[in-house]
């Protein structure tokens, strides 16, 4: 099973990045062998729709779950439609810690956007 995490640097030992659409890296991890690949977040400098772009990336990777600190309404709708489950980092500080917690079923799953707005102005 493939999952994606938002991280501060391109490494499985990296600290987490709590932002989804504007997090620095998207770490794609295969849970079975813990093989991983880090991709710069395509939406990090987007003027708008960063969360959607990141969600597009996650679904294109055919990941089943994504872990981050926050999911805005657009990202939430896109991931939801793509059939990707969303989980929150909670107290986890590093990607590896979050992967372990995820495997143990300790992370909180998200059923609705965790914040009402994104970090800049646009329509609604």
């Amino acid at each position: 099973m493939k999952i994606v995490l938002t991280t501060a640097s391109p490494d499985i030992e990296s600290e987490i990045d709590p932002r989804f659409g504007r997090g620095a890296y998207l770490l794609v991890v295969n849970l079975e062998g813990l093989e991983w690949e880090a991709h710069p977040n395509p939406g990090v400098n987007a003027s708008g729709g960063a969360g959607i772009q990141a969600a597009q990336f996650v679904t294109d990777q055919k990941a089943k779950a994504v872990i981050s600190g926050d999911f805005g309404p657009h990202a939430h709708d896109a991931l939801n439609m793509g059939g990707v489950s969303m989980y929150l980092y909670g107290d986890c500080r590093t990607a590896r810690e979050a992967i372990e917690s995820f495997k143990e079923g300790k992370l909180r799953q998200v059923g609705a956007p965790t914040k009402s707005d994104c970090d800049h102005g646009h329509r609604a």
Binding site: G48, I52, Q53, G121, H122, R123
Partner: protein
């Protein structure tokens, strides 16, 4: 002649100047309130609205029967307003700018466009014979530009007609969309550091768009040499000075424009218009 009225800083008196100028001009006059987020010129010109039309953007609608989920539309969209998520297509109307790229690029012709209503255009005539038009952006819609563009198109002017465009405050896209294509830009300012600061920004817009501009100083209350020095250094002519006057404030509070408060202003605004005509000839 098309005259746009802008200011940079809000509350300097754009609408006061624009409506008073409209009343002093020889007919036919067309007045467009392009401050679609907070239109208020109708309060001073009191038109009878006779026509209206819904406006918005054409946003994509994906036919999932025809869609092969190739993702070319999502790649083409600069605003990430459309996403292909596995075997689903998702459109985010609030991010869409209505450019039509997705519709054009779709190899399956699976995308059609439908109108996403953002506001309404209204037109009518005032008792003094001014043709009046305004756009009203729906509450919660942050993109004013499409409504302004469509207002200007909807109320297309005759070549010999004098047109007054009342812009919103600031110097961002709605102001640029309003003043673009104008023959002259009146910059209304107040003699305060804040007024001057934003006048500088507004003057840069005029320069960038290569529109000749001049300044109207409103609520003048004694000398403010910084403003005069700035205008001189930038070769921005000061075309009219309106005093800080309690009678004017009282009149405005009652919904009167300057020429109603004091008919002597008709002459002042006619001479303002003649100065502008002179400046446009050069």
């Amino acid at each position: 002649m098309i005259i746009a009225v802008a200011s940079g800083k809000g509350g300097t008196g754009k609408t006061t100047i624009a409506t008073s100028l409209a009343l002093a001009l020889p007919t036919p006059v067309l007045f467009l309130d392009c401050d679609v987020e907070a239109p208020n010129a109708h309060l001073f010109l009191r038109p009878d609205f006779e026509q209206n039309q819904e406006v918005g953007l054409l946003i994509p609608e994906v036919d999932e029967e025809r869609c092969t989920f190739c993702g070319e539309c999502a790649n083409a969209c600069q605003y990430h307003a459309i996403a292909i998520l596995g075997k689903k297509a998702l459109v985010f109307p609030q991010l869409c700018h209505g450019c039509g790229s997705c519709t054009m690029i779709c190899p399956e012709q699976a995308i059609t466009e439908k109108l996403d209503v953002m506001g309404v255009l209204e037109s009518g005539t005032t008792k003094t014979g001014i043709r009046f038009g305004r756009g009203v952006l729906n509450v919660g819609e942050p993109m004013a530009v499409p409504v302004i563009r469509q207002l200007k198109k909807w109320m297309e002017s005759e070549p010999e007609q004098n047109v007054i465009l009342d812009a919103s405050p600031g110097t961002s896209c709605p102001v640029v969309a309003t003043v673009r294509g104008a023959d002259f830009l009146i910059l209304v300012t107040e003699p305060t550091p804040f007024g001057l600061h934003d006048l500088r920004l507004a003057a840069q817009v005029a320069r960038e768009l290569a529109i000749p501009a001049g300044v109207v100083v409103n609520r003048e209350n004694g000398a403010y040499p910084d403003l005069d020095e700035y205008c001189e250094s930038e070769s921005l002519p000061i075309l009219l000075r309106i005093p800080y006057d309690r009678a004017i404030a009282e009149g405005i509070a009652q919904g009167k424009n300057l020429v109603e408060v004091n008919p002597g202003f008709i002459q002042e605004f006619r001479s303002l218009f003649m100065k502008i005509q002179g400046l446009c000839k050069h």
